[in-house]
């Protein structure tokens, strides 16, 4: 089995790889909720029942072809910081990380599949892919699920489908979600109507870390809410169609910003780079929002020599638990802010920055030729 350090040292498959619409869609995730017959759901079971289920199910999960030689850990063996690192990598949910005895997580070597045991349901099987690719994420979890169903007795009802702790997951037990980076829709103040329209067709819009979290760094999660009465491919096709529309709006808004508000755009990106490159204190919120601007700049070719994946890795590395793991100790919020700035300065050294680009043609109000002496 893989060690925690090995797991974290290697960037996940979805962090390196680019997928369809990677400039706007960060990741596509699909999770299936599954339960076993004859056991109460984790939220209503006793510790010994959870442990009994874990002891029965974990070896089976670890031996699935996809999960072999992966990472598997009992939560009683995991420190708070390590659990939080897994949350920041979207390998486990915040709710699951808050639990301990009777819980475990199994992750495949490529970090593209994670199986949480005793979350709200007995199993949460999650697949994650880069870019807009829900179909591929679903194929992965579907295969793992089909293997597991042959080995363990699932709670399934012909009329109601897969039985889940919360009736909102009943039926397919599937939640398909995409993480979007929408800086241009935010800058042009078109984001609220877009969110409203998405909500009207029965999809949920959330912030970076799921329910009730803020949309930091212009990152938004969109997912289905209905799980009963529709088959999995239909649900996925509907979301992908909606997302393609959102992607088009974002791309149009970016082009318009570059065309009509170039000075404002360059100013925002330049300021973002300057602060990130030279600051000594960076809060998480400030860093996320500035990195969002830098990512936009990289996508629009306004920042020289800037690889998008460098920014995406940095988005992860600057999060509280990753910083603390890196420092190998608990850090106070002040210490974190200073280490975050230090790490960011170091990572951005290789970037030329937006200033290195010649301002093409005449910028309105440009006074480059006549120095202004005052």
């Amino acid at each position: 089995m893989m060690r925690f350090a090995t797991l974290i040292k290697n960037p996940a498959d979805w962090m390196k790889g680019a997928g369809p619409h990677s400039d706007v869609v960060m990741t596509s995730r699909v999770r299936l909720a599954r339960n076993l017959r004859g056991y109460p759901f984790p939220g209503f079971s006793q510790e010994r029942q959870r442990i009994e289920l874990l002891e029965r199910a974990r070896p089976v999960v670890e031996e699935l072809p996809e999960m072999r030689d992966g990472y598997s850990e009992d939560y009683t063996e995991l420190s708070k910081i390590r659990k939080q690192v897994l949350v920041e990598r979207h390998l486990v949910s915040r709710e699951h990380a808050a639990r301990s005895s009777g819980c475990a997580v199994v992750v495949d070597r490529k970090q593209s599949i994670s199986i949480m045991i005793n979350e709200e349901d007995h199993f949460r099987i999650q697949g994650i892919r880069p870019g807009l690719n829900l179909t591929s994420a679903f194929e992965v979890v579907d295969r793992v699920d089909s293997e597991l169903e042959g080995l363990l007795p699932y709670a399934f009802d012909p009329k109601l489908g897969y039985l889940t702790a919360c009736p909102t997951n009943l039926g397919t037990g599937m939640r398909a979600s995409v993480m979007l980076h929408l800086p241009a829709l935010v800058l042009t103040e078109q984001i609220n109507p877009v969110i409203k329209a998405i909500g009207k067709i029965g999809l949920a819009v959330r912030g970076l870390y799921g329910e009730g979290t803020e949309a930091l760094g212009n990152l938004f999660q969109i997912s289905n809410q209905h799980t009963l009465g529709e088959a999995e491919p239909e649900i996925i096709a509907q979301i992908e169609k909606v997302i393609e529309g959102v992607v088009r709006s974002e791309v149009t808004a970016r082009a318009k910003l570059k065309e009509d508000h170039q000075t404002m755009l360059r100013d925002q990106i330049g300021r973002a780079f300057a602060i990130l490159r030279y600051a000594h204190i960076l809060t998480s919120k400030e860093a996320l929002n500035l990195l969002s601007m830098l990512r936009l700049g990289a996508d629009l070719d306004l920042v020289g020599n800037c690889d998008r994946s460098l920014i995406d890795m940095l988005l992860l590395e600057i999060q509280p638990a990753h910083l603390q793991l890196n420092a190998a100790r608990e850090l106070s919020p002040e210490e974190r802010d200073s280490m975050r700035a230090e790490l960011t300065r170091a990572r951005l050294q290789s970037i030329d920055g937006p200033g290195s680009f010649p301002t093409n043609q005449s910028t309105p109000g440009g006074t480059t030729s006549t120095p202004n002496d005052e």
């Binding site: 759901f41 009802d157 109601l160 919360c166 009736p167 909500g199 009963l228």
Partner: protein, 187 residues
């Protein structure tokens, strides 16, 4: 129009717009005062109608899941089931609940390969355990309402659940359903 709480003539009509859906509550003078709904601050739709003192008898009949001991009131409180068998135990009223949450009430997606479409229900048949005997309905001001038909009791329970989960659109729909079922005579 009758009061949503006590069947008297309603004189106070409250309208809330939540998520673009209009929800109305009709109350008589006495009930609106008792609930303090005339004060604009602190008005909670949930408390305003169907507070504990106005529960119907359906609430005191406690259904319990035989497999795990989970109760209907726990379900109502946390909105989650205790175990897979709970879906059979709490089958009554489930369709209404699911209709509000999902596109349909019947699963049409993936099935485990060993379960063919014609397999009989896996779940045991429903067996309700009545824990507490229903006490006589609380005294109600003015003319006492006619005994509720079982359908209405069920809808009231759903309404209660909808209110406690703050699904006000569903609550409004259930309320009008209850109204349409209620005998019009008692005026």
């Amino acid at each position: 129009m009758k009061c949503d709480v006590c069947e008297n003539e309603a004189t106070v009509f409250l309208t809330q717009i939540i998520n673009g859906q209009m929800t109305t509550v009709n109350l008589c003078e006495a009930c609106s005062k008792a609930k303090g709904v005339t004060e604009e601050t602190g008005f909670g739709l949930a408390e305003a109608f169907l507070s504990p003192s106005h529960r119907t008898e359906s609430d005191t009949m406690e259904i319990v899941c035989d497999a795990c001991g989970f109760t209907a009131s726990q379900l109502k409180k946390i909105g989650r089931m205790g175990c897979p068998e709970c879906y059979a135990a709490f089958r009554d009223g489930l369709d209404g609940l699911l209709r509000n949450m999902h596109k349909g009430t019947r699963h049409v997606g993936k099935r485990p390969s060993h379960i063919s479409a014609i397999t009989p229900q896996l779940l045991p048949r429903q067996r309700n355990t009545v824990v507490a005997e229903a006490p006589p309905p609380p005294p109600v001001p003015a003319a006492s309402p006619p005994p509720l038909a079982p359908d209405i009791a069920k809808l009231r329970a759903e309404l209660d659940l909808a209110v406690s989960e703050e699904r006000y659109e569903d609550a409004a729909r259930l309320k009008s359903e209850i109204e349409s079922l209620q005998p019009k005579a008692s005026k």
